[in-house]
């Protein structure tokens, strides 16, 4: 089947989509957007987190056909030509090691700060509770989100 959707602000069309295929597969394999990572395929790890009509979801659990006519934002859409504030903070805080969990964490953290510009540590932990990292141990990831929030506050 054919699926029409908007990805990072651009209308996209995917053809020959299998009906049981996930949105994640369409993004990575048909639209050339490999930023969203494919790991657990069961919603446990959050590395495929994208925003579907603004809401963070696991792209591996959205059937491709369910994205018809919807707006998707992936990690590739966070910065326009340059790094977004959250991406910059992840680098500056040393929150990236192997990098596999990073795209999902960036999308989740970006959404958190959009709704809650000054999150408490508990807010951050809860917002990122669906994203697993097996390298850094989370502390630097928390630092990065705090840094992004602080910079946003200073700029604000």
């Amino acid at each position: 089947m054919r699926v029409n959707l908007t990805v990072n602000g651009r209308p996209q069309q995917a053809d020959d989509v299998w009906e049981g295929e996930s949105l994640l597969y369409v993004l990575r394999e048909r639209l050339g957007l490999p930023g969203s990572k494919n790991a657990c395929e069961q919603g446990e790890c959050g590395s495929c987190t994208v925003r579907l009509d603004g809401v963070p979801v696991c792209a591996c659990l959205v059937a491709a056909g369910q994205a018809e006519g919807r707006e998707v934002v992936t990690v590739e859409g966070l910065g326009e030509g340059e790094l977004s504030a959250v991406q910059r903070a992840f680098i500056d805080a040393g929150a990236v090691q192997c990098g596999f969990c990073t795209p999902g964490l960036l999308v989740a953290a970006d959404e958190l700060l959009e709704h809650n510009p000054q999150p408490s540590d508990a807010d951050i932990r809860e917002a990122l509770s669906g994203n697993l990292c097996r390298c850094t141990g989370y502390e630097k990831i928390l630092d990065a989100v705090r840094l992004a929030a602080a910079r946003r506050g200073e700029a604000g």
Partner: protein, 295 residues
């Protein structure tokens, strides 16, 4: 595989009548896992995402009529006062990403004994509104669970809504798992006081082939609260009473040993959760202060 995309409820019912083996998909948090892992290859998926009424609720009666596909996130934030037990249970589901997609209708459709909603629905009192082109059936939630991952839906039926009694007293939910997020329950317990009727109701998850109520424990506690004059006096519960309630709740379990826990552990833990949630709801009933601790 075929992908059916009804634009409205009547169209969805017609599609399900024509294709009874079509698998309904809303949030996809169960169905897509099965497809991704090749555990299931349905000949048709029936996408419910476009059916607006499944994403709304009505609160004007003594019951909340909750659309089958309302995501857990909205239940947590917007139905906390009407459905406190379900809101607490919803908050323990998976992760924010999962709660943004998963729904009570999906939990019922999957009918896993470990589904987080079930104990809260049993304790609050709920009816499943199943609909087909033949008409609507109201199924008490106790009768909805027919076996491990089996439910009372006919092949041509879809879940339209869940009618849940609006809370008139404190409700609690507690779940045992290895961390606070991304956990399938080792076991779970829900507790609801119904001060108007002077009864209590309970729900046990993940400790029997289906979600169950601890009826003997409920009957014991209802009688003790009545005969002991507790409703009138609001005095603290005797420790022996809470202990017996926990013992009876543990006795209502029929668990198995599996990777998440042993049967003996589950039985023991349900007894502890029962005692603990009873203390919380009684404290809230008598002081008006809600407990926000984790189980």
């Amino acid at each position: 595989m075929d992908f059916l995309r009804p634009a409205g409820w009547a169209e969805a019912l017609a599609a399900k009548a024509e294709h009874p083996t079509a698998v309904p998909i809303a949030g996809g948090t169960d169905v897509m896992v099965e497809i991704n892992f090749d555990h299931r290859r349905p000949d048709r998926l029936l996408d419910l995402n476009r059916i607006g009424e499944l994403y709304t609720w009505e609160t004007d009666g003594p019951e909340v009529r909750l659309g089958a596909a309302v995501p857990y996130t909205r239940i947590m934030h917007e139905l906390r006062s009407e459905l406190p037990g379900l809101a607490l249970a919803a908050h323990t589901v998976g992760s924010p990403q999962i709660r943004n997609r998963g729904s009570v209708g999906g939990n019922l459709g999957a009918a896993s004994p470990a589904g987080d909603c079930h104990p809260a629905l049993l304790a609050a009192g709920a009816t499943v509104e199943a609909e087909s082109v033949r008409g609507t059936r109201l199924i008490p939630v106790e009768e909805f669970y027919t076996g491990v991952k089996r439910n009372a839906l006919a092949p041509d039926e879809l879940i339209r809504a869940i009618r849940i009694q609006r809370a008139t007293g404190p409700q609690q939910f507690a779940k045992v798992g290895t961390r606070n997020a991304m956990v399938i329950a080792v076991c779970a317990f829900a507790m609801a006081l119904h001060p108007g009727e002077r009864t209590v109701r309970t729900g046990i998850g993940s400790a029997a082939p289906t979600p169950v109520r601890a009826r003997t424990a409920e009957d014991f506690l209802t009688a003790e609260l009545r005969d002991g004059g507790y409703w009138e006096s609001g005095r603290p519960l005797e420790p022996s009473l809470a202990a017996e309630f926990g013992r009876l709740a543990a006795g209502a379990c029929n668990p198995i040993d599996d990777v998440r826990g042993s049967a003996a552990y589950r039985r023991h833990a349900v007894g502890v959760l029962a005692r603990r949630t009873l203390a919380w709801v009684w404290a809230e009933h008598t002081t008006g202060e809600e407990n926000h601790r984790c189980a």
